[in-house]
Amino acid sequence: MAMDTTTDSRDKQQTLLGADELVLNMGPQHPSTHGVLRVKLKLDGERVIGSECMIGYLHRGVEKIAEHRTYQQFAPYVDRMDYVAAVSNGLGYCEAIEKLLMVEAPPRAKVIRTILTELQRIASHLLWLGTHALDIGALTPLFYCFREREEILKIFEKYCGARLTTHAFRIGGLQYDAYDTLEKDVERFCKAFEPRIKDYEDLLTQNRIWLGRTKGVGILTAADAIALGATGPVLRASGVKWDIRKAMPYAAYDQYKFEIPVGSTGDTYDRYMVRMEEMRQSRLICLQAIENIPTGPILAKVGKVLKPPPGEVYHAIEAPKGELGYYVISDGTVQPYRVRIRPPSFVNLQAFDKMARGHLVADVVAIIGTLDIVLGEVDR
């Protein structure tokens, strides 16, 4: 029968009414695998008893490319990894190279970087919220989320001319200074955004169906999360209060007050709540930052040709999806000897199997959504 086509050969020996162990292949063109993730699910009925993620469909060899580009030339490539949070990627890379060069961006650059990165975090979380809700069957939040994301992208466009792959920062600071009305635009967005978050929460937070679909689904305990290397909202939802912005401040984060939201059970609902709260906190950071943008230069003295002294550096930032680390080795030439990118999505995706076992196919979709992966970053 139909099931037979991909089940193991031993199923052939099963009796007429035997419950088949079904192997279901999800993706790489499945609507809710968020790109080209392919998951092989071993099912007992609709219950998942095992899973395997097959990745690499979007592998472009970014790390290899890095070894053949100069430090500046490689900067735009990082935008193409997590393409829904390009600004964060760029920030991590620029700061890593700055650390390697032992220079520091001027304060004005740092603050503008912080503003844009936090806007990007909101945009990334909005995209996550919309698609996650869509996966669980709520059609409408997607459009609301895109409406707000559009505002953020417009700010990016005004700032640097690009919306998605922005390449907003340069090593040593910024290429462009803030445009005249940046503060005003950010403020307007932040003011309008507060009631909008409430709208999303009205639609979902107390919704019985939403609760039923997310509570107790894909539980990841704190110990498991740490052991599996999960970072970002996934880790925080498990109750670990750890945010690189606080633990090892970079950019201008040490100047601003914000909270680290944490969950308690580490289920899908907690991750939802953590991300919602993170959007609020990001909004607060933006509001604080635009209060007082220092004047001054936007680019440190780094020279046209970058030749960092030999050595190596690992620099991690809190990207919207988790710890985004750049491990860069310099040999003193204009090209990096090795650039290793520690992608949060890749590592977080590893927790999928742990989270999905024992759940239903419908939950698999919710779990993929709650991990907030971007395949461009997983596969690099």
Partner: protein, 172 residues
């Protein structure tokens, strides 16, 4: 005249699909033909102006039982079923039983023709509007004439239902 055409139409469908039901190798196809046979029977009920039986036939047999049938069939490994030889052991028994059945029916029809007043009572054609309302007639006979058997059957079904629930509970 028209009644006869309709009757033979439905009867032919019923018989042909009944035969196809048992001869098809593909179980799902058999199920489809069984549905057709049941629908044709329902059609004959309708033609006899037994609307209530018609709809009960559809709701219970087609909409209820056959759905469960198909449901189970889909979970069954079809290839195995196809490979198995049909009419393996029951062939002769089946033949015997159907012969006996045919003989019975034939005898009944024959005796009806021979001896009026005995055998199957043939209803005189009654104009449709003179017939009592069908569902009410069924209800009357069930709840008045045959109340006791009806109640016994209900209790029996209830017992079966509870039994099924208990058995299902025990497994988990």
């Amino acid at each position: 005249m028209l009644d006869q055409v309709i009757f033979y139409f439905f009867a032919a469908i019923a018989v042909i699909s009944a035969i196809l039901t048992v001869t098809r190798r593909n179980v799902v196809h058999s199920a489809i033909f069984l549905i057709t046979a049941l629908l044709a029977t329902a059609g004959i009920f309708l033609q006899l102006r037994a609307e209530f039986l018609f709809i009960v036939q559809i709701i219970l047999y087609v909409g209820g039982i056959m759905v469960l049938f198909v449901f189970v069939i889909m979970l069954v490994n079809l290839d195995v079923a196809v490979r198995q030889l049909r009419f393996a052991r029951q062939k002769w028994v089946a033949l015997l039983i159907s012969l006996a059945l045919a003989a019975q029916v034939g005898l009944m029809l024959w005796s009806t023709g021979k001896m009026p007043g005995q055998g199957v009572p043939v209803l005189a054609a009654v104009p449709a509007d003179k017939l009592p309302l069908n569902s009410e007639a069924v209800a009357k006979s069930l709840f008045e004439t045959y109340l006791l058997p009806f109640e016994i059957a209900s209790v029996l079904l209830l017992v079966a239902m509870i039994g099924a629930v208990v058995m299902a509970k025990k497994r988990t």
